[in-house]
Symmetry: C2
Subunit: 436 residues, 2 copies
């Protein structure tokens, strides 16, 4: 056999005999013609023959679907074939025969299995081209996030996931046994990324975060990948909002440029990111909902999923924007490190970014004066002791700073119109699911 | 005040008045001249004045070390100044005054604090230029690892850190409460990266791993960043060894090209990576130790730290190489998924890479046939049930594959000659340390 090439390289070898290896994704006969689809790590190729003896190794080797094959063949241009090329004059070698029937079908355009079957058998389901496309896009999102921030002088950090005190609140944390002492899984790198603003001013992290939320919804998972950024010497939260706009636009442009096949396969509708994303103050948003829908949520401390959907629709109709900033969430529902709005101290210098009517990003300005932290902890009736290490950063000088956290899986869910966030990650963790 | 520029941009503004912001790192008088060092997220700049009134804002604002300042000044070329430029004709503004004396000195060339003080106050110690240099190099290692593998058609993945079964063994795992069920923190992404070879063939992951090792040594931490790669359709473990050589050479070249200042500051001795890294079989290594040192370790199932040091010295003397592959570790000490050497089945198709006499990377070929896994689990007296999800990958066809895991912190420790691995990470976790 010749040296193997990847399926992605085949189109540049028309007229040559080449060798490929991969999984037998489908095998069907039409009249006297047999069509094989071979899948490798990057794509698929159709191999075609009318000669039974070319297929003999499959029969002799009892090689069913998902068998590993090496096929040598002639690359022929064929406009009707998927990808515009196919292989003729086949020489097939069975590398590893499989007789077992896969738990779900990998050779249909869409996976027909229900979500439970798909997730139970994610190990195999993830081989399906539509699943692979999602995870490739996920890699593209991470790569673009890092590149965009690196170009803007941010330093990548990795911070501990086993922590002594929870960042956000006492609830919703996973507890673990740390050599006989209680410890927790980090709900976010919030404290550490702030501390590292004191070191590098501008930092980002891509890593897992853990939320022990007991409700099982279509938009929550218990472990997800957070795209975190934090920067110092800001004006206020609007500096962060401008940065986030840049990052999102860069990610979407990167996907459009480099992942056209995946986006087409998944039927993605790519949104435009406006030069300036429209924004509305929290209080005005509640007033607007009252005016438009006659539902009175004024005075509520937070927005409900329904509120977010209404606001998303409004942003689309009013500004043609899939994105909407809601600013100034009430201080009483934001964590203690949140910076108040100097003009209206009951509201905060914080924001959520809604994307197609769902919260995608939370961010804002943080407190940066040591005294302000002491007061905020007292106000929140939290003890100082567990936070002393964190407070040290502020004791020795921190600039005005802020940041944001993008839920990587939610971004893909909304971008691709996937109905359940669990489907955007390779091996989701939820209330009932610890395997695969 | 003018618009702020970063210290890294100052050398291109000689003769201009500019504005910088940052932390007051040092302040000292010599004769009638006062020297200030201001530090921002990227570097430092010396500001010099003979005029007391230029310094008046510091006195009036009671601004001690680590105060946040904005300084406007004229950029003057001065060969004797650190970096070759300094600021004159100062206009100083105190952004945030600090009176508290920092718990350790940030304005000496080296940190004089002992390791316990340094780690207890890592929040502040990490601001020291030598600490920053380490973490910047860490970011460079991650970036180069990702880039090198992406160019070679690897896909980045993120896999779960909360897992149902431990990968390597029952020992040394952190247990946590997952909604009333026991779960564990992943000791490595081993199972998941193998499974994903069935999806993308070539995958990598940069992420935290957790080891509940109860011994407190200078080369162990309980949470670290693992640089993992895994690929399919390999010949055997030598395919992986060649890939690892490429990756290491790329990382070192990347650091040399892009982090010269950091490497100089830390006094790093950059090693050459030989075109072909010398290798020795495990059994031959034990024989060699006996011949050279008259210590008989033949028949031991593993190498001790002293054995590794001896082998490192030998590789340096014999081949002038800081790197040495030890291949063929005995099967009985390797995890159950290890592929045996077909010629000598008591030894494995696995390797360790020693760097300057310490194990830096572990890797090898894995089993890939379903039947081989069933036999290996039985041999290891492990039950099948907890591994069923993992075995599904092999049931439905996996190619010959293998991979490696580089300990990111160990790489920096050995590269920089740092005596304790805890010093290579921002906020280390050890037997006694959960904060900061």
């Amino acid at each position: 056999m010749k040296k193997r090439i990847l399926t992605s390289a085949i189109p540049s070898h028309v007229g040559e005999r080449i060798c490929i290896s991969g999984w037998l994704q489908s095998l069907r006969q039409m009249g006297g013609i047999t069509f094989l689809i071979l899948r490798d790590g990057w794509g698929t190729i159709q191999a075609v023959t009318e000669h039974a003896q070319e297929l003999a190794p499959l029969t002799e080797g009892q090689a069913g679907l998902e068998s590993l094959l090496t096929i040598e063949g002639l690359v022929v241009s064929e406009p009707q074939a998927p990808g515009g090329v196919e292989l003729h004059e086949l020489h097939i070698e069975v590398v590893l025969p499989i007789q077992e029937i896969p738990p779900l079908s990998l050779n249909k355009r869409k996976i027909s299995a229900n979500i439970a079957t798909l997730l139970d058998h994610a190990v195999i389901a993830n081989r399906h081209p539509t699943r692979r496309a999602i995870f490739r896009l996920s890699a593209g999102v991470m790569a673009s996030f890092r590149q965009t921030l690196s170009e803007r002088h941010f330093t990548e950090i990795q911070t501990p996931k086993i922590v002594a005190a929870s960042t956000e609140s006492g609830a919703n944390v996973f507890e673990l046994d740390y050599f006989g002492r209680p410890a927790f899984l980090a709900q976010s790198p919030q404290f550490y990324k702030q501390i590292m603003v004191g070191v590098f001013e501008r930092v980002f992290e891509v890593g897992p975060v853990f939320r022990a939320e007991k409700h099982d919804t279509t938009r929550h998972i218990n472990e997800y990948v957070s795209l975190d950024a934090e920067m110092g010497f800001i004006e206020d939260h609007t500096t962060i909002m401008a940065l986030l706009r840049t990052v999102l636009a860069a990610i979407l442009a990167h996907l459009t440029e480099n992942y056209a096949a995946e986006l087409t396969l998944l039927g993605a509708q790519m949104p435009q990111v406006p030069e300036v994303i429209p924004q509305i103050h929290f209080a005005d948003a509640q007033e607007l909902i009252y005016q438009l829908h006659r539902v009175d949520v004024r005075g509520e401390p937070d927005l409900s999923p329904q509120d977010e959907r209404w606001l998303g629709e409004w942003a689309q109709q009013e500004f043609g924007s899939a994105f909407l900033y809601v600013t100034g969430y009430p201080m009483r529902k934001r964590p203690f490190y949140t910076h108040p709005d100097p003009q209206r101290p009951e509201y905060s210098n914080s924001f959520d970014l809604l994307f197609r009517g769902i919260e995608l990003v939370t961010g804002g300005q943080r407190l940066h004066r040591y005294d302000a932290y002491l007061a905020a902890l007292q106000q929140a009736q939290l003890p100082i002791e567990p936070f002393e290490y964190y407070l040290e950063a502020f004791k020795y000088g921190m600039p005005a700073h802020g940041g944001f956290a993008i839920g990587s899986e939610r971004l893909l869910m909304q971008l691709l119109g996937i109905p359940n966030v669990k489907l955007t990650t390779t091996f989701p963790r939820d209330l009932n699911r610890l395997v695969p």
